[in-house]
Amino acid sequence: MASYTVAYEKSKSFFEAYERKAELQHQTHYCPGCGHGIVHKLIANAIDELGIQDRTILITPVGCSVFAYYYFDTGNIQSAHGRAAAVATAVKRARPDSIVLSYQGDGDLAAIGSAEILHAANRGEGITVIFINNAIYGMTGGQVAPTTLLGQKTTTTPFGRSEWNEGYPLKVAELLASLEAPVYIERVGLGNNKQIMQAGRAVRRAIENQVRGLGFSLVEVLSPCPTIWKLDPVDAQRRVREEMPKTFPLGVFRDRTKEAAARPRPPAPPPIAEIPRILSVANGLPRTKAESQRSTIQVDLRVKIAGFGGQGVLMLGEVLAEAGLDAGLEVSWLPSYGPEMRSGTSNCHVRLASRPIDSPLVSRPNALLALNEPSLDKFLTSVEAGGWVLYNGAALPDGCARADVHTISENFTQLADELGDSRAGNMVMLGALLEATGMLSGDSIRTALERLVKSQRWLEIDRQALGRGREVARRGGFHAS
């Protein structure tokens, strides 16, 4: 038997036998003359040469190449139609040391996945994209692609692609090269051996960029599809060589591989013990004094606070809830939300109770804090008999009086203005409520304010405002204790 040396063999990054295929495990499922097989070989060679087989993760979405995992002995993730660039983004971010290759066809990348590829490129994700442009939908049997040539007949352009109906062929390499972030973009062809050799160099370079930690690289490969084009493999290759480059010129559209800085590595994560502090989660803190000495008085305060946006409605509620929590009570705070936050009216529901709170929605308040007249109109009738109504006005408007509730009418906003900032009207009102009802200790209110108000100046204004509110209530003869 003659001895021989192996001059050329199957790339190591391919499986020896294609056991993931149901049958014909010695050959690929690609048609004779198809470009996929060639590009697979170029990629496998590059993986071998760069010594990255273990690190490589191949992402293959819908298209003829969806079964690339039959062949590549690397990590493989099959993904949804068009979403490979999004999938690749997250794989690379989860595993920064892996080499992530997104292998996409023209329907996948340039039609249904156009948003994902554009944004992955624009973020400069550190991935490598191999984009097979054969100007047709192959797997689904020959429908028009975004890259189909003008005049080209497909099953969904039976009269030829028209610029008036389907628009012009989409030039992906040129389009993405208009972005700032990509490092390397080249269009190559599989039109003859010379072009294929160049395609091999481009593929290797695009992958090597990732090994070097650089950002986004893409190689667009003009590729024959003899079966769907209804050409024999030789004529199909001629078309790639002679016709396609008239629309899709070959060449390098972006090359910053020399000057590009490596994408920064994610910083080392903090120790787990630091996480509660980072989240401001008070794990392990001792209970406050108030919490460990639960009040024996039965409390069931159901407060509705309402006014214009900007009057501090939500903040008033928050101080009340925080103080209640500090006092060892069960609390809930529920806001109106959305556009109302930006203008118009705002309201919130606050409950403070000795027992667990069933509904955080306050439909029958026993305290209404109305910071404007529309709020008073809207909610006055809902107040429980014997409850409290605090109104931000010198007197209740005509027809609004209710004999069965306690009422404090005062121009709280004006009182706050006298203290230096009309926005503290909410705190003046809160002070009056606290004085009149005798609920919550001064300590709890102070603790709440210190938790919620970060500015020293505002803390001082709010303290004065609360004091002013208490005076108002006392002067009106409302003093609980």
Partner: protein
């Protein structure tokens, strides 16, 4: 440990990070945006990844990639965004990838409005994407549960290798209540099946394609067996004062909170009323409802959707007991007084019938 006043949406993110999640991909939408905002603030500080994707479609596929690579990951959205994610959720379930999705429901259909509703019940609980799959669905009714059920969601997602949805409404997301958070756990190691770009994991493959009918049938049966197992093991519900209940209210989320107040008020009026609150919407607490139907003379389902929950309750009760329905939609939430009035209206004919029978 000290309880902290925390917003529902924020509790989800804090709990996720404490549960070892370090990956969030999302897209803003009211009333879920605080979740993305909190993730943007905390994830990078915790050594994690936050990215606002170009769309919900991209975001859910980023979860597909992160989960395939073996890390705990989550996203959050509301009605319209969840609709966009459905294809990706089907792929995640098909490829058996764990992830957590928070849906803070708003009013629909279409653009609807941003007020609280429960109209996503069908698209989330029944699995709104294509193919034979289910998602496990947890329905918190308090901020404490927003935290607790988010942590549980990660564990269930890992155990069943399946997407888990935390389904809340705008009010549960926006309101603040005291929360006690658990201690921080370290991110778990990547599971053995994950594609990690290492020699050990090189042969791993994540896919949802099964070309041969027999292969796909076997895969669907395997998924189905997981769902049967979840139905046996993971059902959670709160039975509130149901021991002697002749009328059982059924509701979840913010509605269940209102219904607790209704139970108190109704009992004060002499009606033997209880509440069954499903905590898992899938698997659904059908067994518990069947058990209650032996005593109960009537169920009243209250929901912020057009009878979507009602269908499941009727399926569970199998016609043994009348199942009445009261709904508010469009962003309206019924008050306890309103539901009590409805309850009276429905209980009276029941009582009169009884008198006819016994009298």
């Amino acid at each position: 440990m000290r309880k902290q006043l925390t917003k529902g949406n924020e509790a989800i993110v804090k709990s996720a990070i404490l549960a070892g999640c370090r990956t969030f991909y999302g897209y803003p939408i009211t009333p879920a945006s605080e979740i993305a905002e909190a993730a943007a603030l905390y994830m990078p500080q915790a050594g994690g990844v936050f990215l606002q994707a170009e769309s919900e479609v991209a975001a859910i596929n980023m979860l597909y990639g992160a989960a395939a690579a073996g890390v705990r990951c989550m996203t959050a959205s509301s009605g319209p965004g969840i609709s966009l994610m459905q294809e990706g959720i089907s792929y995640l379930a098909g490829a058996e990838l764990p992830c957590v999705i928070a849906d803070i429901m708003r009013g629909g259909p279409g653009l609807g409005n941003i007020a609280p509703e429960q109209g996503d019940y069908h698209q989330v609980v029944k699995g709104g994407g294509h193919g034979n799959y289910r998602t496990i669905v947890l329905a918190p009714d308090s901020v404490q549960e927003m935290a607790g059920l988010t942590a549980l969601a990660f564990d269930l997602a890992d155990e069943y290798r399946n997407p888990v949805v935390v389904l809340a409404d705008g009010y549960i997301g926006q309101m603040m209540e005291p929360v006690e958070f658990p201690p921080a756990s370290a991110p778990r190691p990547a599971p053995g099946w994950a594609v990690q770009g290492t020699a050990e994991a090189r042969r791993n493959l994540i896919t949802s394609i099964y070309l041969e009918p027999d292969g796909l049938e076997a895969h669907v049966r395997k998924l189905d067996a997981k769902y049967r197992q979840a139905e046996e093991r993971e059902v959670r519900a709160e039975a509130w004062r149901t021991e002697d209940a002749e009328i059982v209210l059924v509701g979840y989320g913010i509605v269940a909170r209102v219904l607790k107040a209704v139970v108190e008020q109704a009992r004060a009026c002499g009606l033997a009323v209880g509440l069954l609150r499903p905590i898992t919407l899938y698997p659904f607490p059908s067994g518990e409802l069947q058990r209650l139907s032996r005593r109960a003379r009537m169920f009243l389902v209250v929901e912020l959707s057009n009878g979507q929950l009602w269908e499941d309750v009727r399926l569970a009760v199998e016609g043994r007991t009348p199942v009445e329905l009261y709904t508010r939609v469009g962003g309206n939430v019924p008050s306890a007084e309103e539901v009590l009035a409805v309850l009276w209206g429905k209980a009276r004919p029941l009582a009169e019938r009884e008198e006819l029978v016994h009298g």
